[in-house]
């Protein structure tokens, strides 16, 4: 009965919830829109520089306090489908949000304060982190984990400005992958790069990126086998654009990249700041900021 009624209940709630809540693409408060690690994946003994796209209704924020830290949290999948799950919002089990404040988190490291930070991972720290993340595993599993999954090093940042506080997280993957990931190139507007000045007052925003000839493939592990080993699955990067602005809203909010360009319809009344964030689906991130004149 529980499974049978779960979706109808969700459906009822969904239909009746034409909530007057704010659109997520409208920047009307202090927000973190993206976090970028350069490079997004590192090998043991390597390091990555971290920057965050922190914005507010007035545009990009430079005067906020940004505190960075990193940790390793045990991976435990997503226990769900419990014997009584759906009646209460949120998971039925006590798994809560897994973060650096979690009791099980380990190797919590302060990365400093400022607009950017740096994460460095020593080789022996990687070995310790593997145990924290996955426990003591068999040799074959460890080899899969080292070469493919790596350790998802969790980076957290807390942004404060006045009374406003926002938190964000990002995973920097530390692994012995043969070909670590790269960040995608910055989005471009109408063929012009970021920082090329104010755009005219337009209602349709078209932008794209310098796309690779083919999207890069990579591997992930799935815990789907019954003997505790992992299934290796081939994936292909899927690039997505997300649009945010200080006025108006977009349709759609997120565009999956299937060609070189993406188009958003933007309804707004005033001049505004516009941000486009490009993600490659496996941790690579870039973004672009433009100011746009008021519509005619």
């Amino acid at each position: 009965m529980g499974r049978g009624t779960m979706l109808p209940v969700a459906a009822l709630i969904a239909v009746a919830c034409d909530a007057p809540f704010d659109d997520r693409d409208h920047v009307d408060r202090l927000r973190v829109l993206a976090v970028r690690a350069e490079p997004p994946e590192i090998a043991p003994g390597g390091g990555a520089s971290l920057t965050a796209l922190v914005v507010a209704p007035g545009g990009e924020v430079a005067d906020a306090s940004v505190v960075w830290r990193a940790c390793v949290v045990p991976w435990r999948g997503e226990p769900g489908g419990g014997f009584d799950g759906f009646a209460v919002p949120g998971p039925a089990l006590d798994d809560g949000a897994v973060g650096c404040d979690d009791a099980a988190a380990a190797m919590v490291t302060a990365l400093g304060e400022g607009a950017s930070a740096r994460l460095d991972v020593a080789v022996d720290a990687f070995d310790d982190a593997l145990v924290v993340a996955y426990g003591e595993v068999a040799v074959a599993q460890r080899a899969q984990l080292e070469a493919i999954a790596g350790v998802p090093w969790r980076v957290e940042l807390t942004v404060r400005r006045g009374d406003e506080v926002v938190r964000a997280s990002k995973i920097v993957r530390v692994s012995r992958r043969a070909r670590p990931n790269d960040n995608p190139p910055e989005p471009i507007f109408d063929g012009a790069p970021c920082g090329a000045g104010e755009l005219d007052g337009r209602s349709t925003v078209t932008f794209g990126a310098t796309l690779p000839a083919t999207f890069e493939g990579y591997q992930v592990l799935l815990p789907t086998t019954d003997d505790g080993r992992f299934e290796v699955l081939d994936r292909t990067e899927l690039w997505t654009y997300s649009a945010f602005a200080t006025d108006g809203d977009f349709e759609p909010e997120v565009v999956k990249v299937v060609a070189g360009e993406a188009t958003f319809t933007w309804r707004r009344r005033r001049a505004a700041d516009l941000w486009i964030v490009l993600r490659d689906g496996r941790g690579g991130t870039s973004w672009c900021h433009r100011t746009v004149a008021a519509p005619p």
């Binding site: 009624t5 009822l12 709630i13 809540f21 999948g77 226990p79 919002p89 999954a149 790596g150 992930v220």
Partner: protein, 739 residues
């Protein structure tokens, strides 16, 4: 016609003829029916008296077909008077000779109540179909009355999933004519899946059900179907804003054939008001009952139901479509024979198919779907022996075979090697599985009237798996014992203790064959006072649940041998409560009940401490009443009050910069949604014509439009929350024609 009265009638007429000088003799005959139904009224006294003069009146009784005859009557004016308990009196002037057809209208305090039979000693609430149908909020459907009974937690949106005495809704066993059924109610708070005109009664056991009911850890809801009147053909058509239905029955020999069909038109109606929701459902029954002599009865039926729900929410790239389909179709056969005056053998068999499918579709994302197809067969054979007055022994076997095919296309969770996939890039995995279960359960049940007001109802049932042979579950024994002791009329002490087992659902046993059954330990102790149609019952109860199953399929859990654990039966539950039930039976113009439940239900898994169960409701109050206003008007009221569901507030949320989503951090289950309260009203009116009747009702659910949020909904970053939707004010106007 009784011999003495008939002789007196004929003698009186002869005497009258002699006194009056030998006027010409004539006959007055006729038929007596219930007005509006064409049901003959048998054994009713009919009085004949002269319209003028002071002759002695004559009286005859109607025969089995409602016929009566006054012969040797002089020509002229006469009066016929009929006084029958439960009907309005009638006086009709006739001029002999004459043939008259008399139709008596039922009085407002009379109602035909067909109660479902239930064991004498078992802790049970039986509700006759007619009584239940007039409870507001049921829309005339007796199957929906369960939600107003004691011990039953208020379901979200009034849906038909009833959690009883701290157990989950999945632990409530539902049966139609003794066969387990996948669901009793259409989706989204719809009516029962059986035409109300075929519902003879509904029996609700909050625990300790008779041993022939099994494979349910907690309560039992059983609907018994009955035939329309056999002596005439019958037509019953109904219409309301949600659906239309028709039922027809025709006597065939010593039996009756009945066909009913209902179809909602919400799938046509709702799109006129919203683009986001479409719902359609259908149910049908074809039923043949036949009596082979006085001792043998056979019933064969085909019945089924189909539901389709389509929901579209969001817009643009976040537009999501949810499709839900449920259905079952089955053939049943029942054979009952009285082997002797004290020995009865009943066998019921069922073969059917069941289907459920849930699918979520988003633009540019893979579909997510869960499908479950099952072929099921159930056999229940019982032999009931009444060796002495007050003693009934029942034994039998319950056999269930079910072959389930599952096909799923679901998110793989978080794969290792990439961040949480964005909403546009779910990684889905396809999986097919099959689960076959064959279980045999012999049982013994007894009802023992030990005298001195003591009725003992012991029973035991053994559930033994026969298949799958490579992963048999350990056999389970379910003993149960109920006691009723009327120690000083009208006071009765009631007690019940039972152990019940329920196998995990096929979706879990397909992953982990042999996964253990949930075990429930149930106990109750109560005191009843019953007099003059009133019942007041106070009952305390406790229930513990062990080996509650859950899926670990999305997690990475290994056992000591390094084998992956995909499901576990390691949850525990416990609940304590008390119920007050005050009931006024049909009669005297008012009937109804008040049910109040005070309880606390908790759950835990091995890694948890005891916490509130999500369906825990400290206070649940139902008050339902129907008042006969006269001239066949009935006013029904139902008030519902229940503690808000426990909820886990979001403490804060972190923006997941890789997945472009906010991840909430949930607090403990330490808050509740606001108190739920709601009033429903229902006004019924019957217009009774000679051979048919028109019934109409106006029902308003949530009369004062109480804002009863069923959940909290959050802003995209969980920064703000507000109460989610609840049932709005919902008026319904319905009509029914019965011929």
């Amino acid at each position: 016609m009784s011999g003495a009265r008939a002789r007196w009638g004929r003698g009186g007429a002869l005497l009258w003829m002699l006194i009056c000088g030998g006027a010409r003799a004539a006959t007055i005959d006729g038929e007596l029916f219930e007005r509006g139904t064409r049901t003959p009224i048998a054994g009713a006294p009919v009085l004949l008296r002269a319209a003028h003069g002071e002759t002695e009146p004559r009286e005859v009784l109607t025969d089995g077909e409602g016929r009566f005859v006054f012969d040797e009557v002089s020509a002229g004016a006469w009066l016929i008077d009929v006084f029958v308990a439960g009907y309005e009196p009638m006086s009709r002037a006739v001029r002999a000779p004459a043939h008259v057809v008399l139709r008596l209208a039922p009085s407002d305090t009379h109602r035909t109540v067909v109660g479902a039979r239930s064991p004498k000693g078992a802790p049970v609430i039986g509700v006759a179909g007619d009584e239940a149908a007039r409870v507001p909020g049921t829309s005339g459907d007796p199957a929906k009355v369960v939600g107003a009974l004691p011990g039953v937690a208020r379901p979200m949106f009034g849906l038909g999933d009833f959690a009883v005495r701290g157990a989950g809704p999945e632990h409530t066993g539902t049966f139609i004519d003794g066969h387990p059924t996948r669901y009793l109610y259409h989706l989204l708070g719809g009516p029962g899946v059986v035409d109300p005109a075929l519902v003879g009664g509904l029996v609700f056991y909050p625990g300790g059900a008779p041993a022939w009911f099994g494979r349910a850890a907690s309560a039992t809801v059983a609907i018994e179907l009955e035939d329309p009147p056999r002596e005439r053909w019958h037509l019953d058509a109904q219409l309301d804003p949600w659906k239309a239905g028709v039922l027809a029955s025709v006597p065939v020999g010593d039996g009756v054939v009945t066909l009913s069909f209902r179809r909602s038109w919400l799938d046509a109606l709702l799109p006129l008001f919203t683009e986001g929701l479409a719902l359609g459902y259908t149910d049908y029954q074809l039923r043949w009952s036949h009596a082979l002599g006085e001792r043998v009865g056979v019933t064969v039926a085909i019945l089924g139901a189909e539901d389709r729900l389509h929901v579209v929410e969001g817009k643009g790239s976040r537009r999501e479509r949810i499709d839900v389909a449920l259905g079952f179709h089955r053939v049943t056969a029942a054979f009952a024979i009285d082997l002797s005056p004290c020995l009865r053998w009943v066998t019921r068999a069922m073969l059917g198919v069941e289907r459920s499918e849930q699918r979520v579709t988003e633009p540019a994302s893979p579909d997510i779907a869960l499908g479950e197809d099952a072929i099921a067969s159930h056999l229940l054979t019982t032999l009931a022996w009444r060796p002495a007055r007050g003693t009934l022994l029942t034994t039998g076997v319950d056999v269930l075979w079910r072959s389930t095919t599952l096909d799923s296309r679901v998110p793989a969770g978080a794969p290792l090697g990439e961040p949480t996939p964005a909403e546009t890039d779910w990684l889905v995995v396809d999986e097919d599985a099959r689960d076959v279960q064959l279980g045999v359960a012999p049982f013994v049940h007894a009802e023992l009237d030990l005298g001195a007001g003591v009725v003992l109802t012991p029973g035991v049932r053994a559930d033994v798996d026969i298949a799958p042979v490579d992963s048999l579950r350990a056999p389970t024994i379910d003993p149960r014992l109920a006691l009723r002791w009327t120690f000083a009329a009208p006071w009765t002490l009631t007690a019940m203790a039972a152990i019940a087992h329920q196998p995990p659902p096929p979706a879990l046993t397909a992953m982990v064959p042999g996964l253990g059954s949930t075990e429930a330990l149930q106990a109750s102790l109560g005191l009843e006072w019953a007099r003059d149609g009133w019942l007041v019952a106070l009952t305390g109860w406790g229930q513990s649940l062990d080996a509650l199953p859950r899926s670990l399929d999305d997690a990475w859990v290994l056992d000591r041998n390094g084998e992956r654990v995909r499901a576990a039966a390691d949850g525990e539950g416990r609940a304590l409560g008390a119920e007050l039930f005050v009931r006024k039976r049909v009669g005297d113009g008012v009937h109804g009940w008040l049910a109040y439940t005070l309880s606390r239900a908790e759950r835990r898994t091995p890694s948890e401490r005891w916490r509130l169960y999500e369906r825990d409701q400290t206070h649940v109050l139902h008050a339902a009443a129907a008042i006969e206003l006269g001239r066949e008007w009935t006013l029904g009221l139902r008030f519902e009050l229940a503690s808000g569901a426990p909820t886990r507030p979001v403490i804060d949320a972190t923006y997941d910069a890789d997945g472009d989503v906010f991840a909430p951090r949930w607090g403990p289950v330490d808050r509740r949604l606001p108190l739920h309260h709601r009033l429903d009203l229902r006004l019924d009116k019957t217009w009774r014509f000679d051979t048919w009747q028109l019934q109409a009702y106006l029902e308003v659910q949530n009369v004062y439009a109480a804002d009863n949020p069923e959940t909290l909904v959050y802003d995209y970053d969980y920064g703000r929350a507000r109460g989610g939707p609840g049932l709005p004010i919902l008026p319904t106007l319905g009509a029914r024609v019965v011929y």
